[in-house]
Symmetry: C2
Subunit: 149 residues, 2 copies
Amino acid sequence: MPTTESASRTVAGLASELGLSVLRLRRRLSLEQHPGNPLSLSQMTVLGTLYRHGEMTLGDLAAHERVQPPSMTRTVGVLGAGGYVRRHQSSTDGRVQLITITERGISTLLADRKRRDAWLTQALIHLTADERSILRAAAPILDRLANDD
Amino acid sequence: MPTTESASRTVAGLASELGLSVLRLRRRLSLEQHPGNPLSLSQMTVLGTLYRHGEMTLGDLAAHERVQPPSMTRTVGVLGAGGYVRRHQSSTDGRVQLITITERGISTLLADRKRRDAWLTQALIHLTADERSILRAAAPILDRLANDD
DNA sequence: TATTGTTATACTCTATAACTATA
DNA sequence: TATAGTTATAGAGTATAACAATA
């Protein structure tokens, strides 16, 4: 029976193990973080992206989040209905919808993050400082893997 | 506007960034790895767990994968219909369903992993050796975060 | 009664295809 | 014609509630 350690010695093995780890952790994150949070993890990433990048078109937002436009239309629709984002047409191109995060979106994002990260923070506290350093170094690499073309 | 680097300096910030990174990478993995693969990432993790642990009850499998029993009933049903796993009642407890991976399940698991990991492997190749080392060290830590209580 | 697993049902996130409005 | 976004529809994966069978 292969173990994480032995399988990770090759690049392909690392890819495989990383995929499984990411899936399981993601599942746990979206379950464990939910109670009491008004927004899903997906919705929060959209708010986070808008918070960082400022005004974006719906298409750019979809591309950044790696979802298809109809999916983003829906997500933005829900966020807009809740008052977390605002949309307005571009003055130079009537087809384009520009999306911005509202004050309410920002405060919700920050508050939600706090609550949402509670258990992961708790879990991280139980790691050694070295292990946290590894994760701190790994996070941006994971992000690049998710976003690079 | 916060950046990944600045936000990660605190434990809570690390938790937040890690959560976002994991979500995005997971989304990309399940999209990019799909074409040509008969099994979903979720189904594969079940096969992987059975491959490692050998015979398991449906309940233990659900607990290990962190899903509710009805979800696992469905997943195992699909895998059983495809001939990837076999189920038989416990001889000592008529309520218990014991699940094992079949030869077909094993060969499919190994073959699927190869194809499924193709793009991630490709992405990993573009990293530096140091970056790969970080991920190699991070994978088991992520797994512990996902599985520890 | 308590436990294991199943059935019935519903929700979230995502996709593709077809469409509208604008360029 | 081509592009930006929407509407309609569907599928995968998950959940909760209620149930059946067994302990």
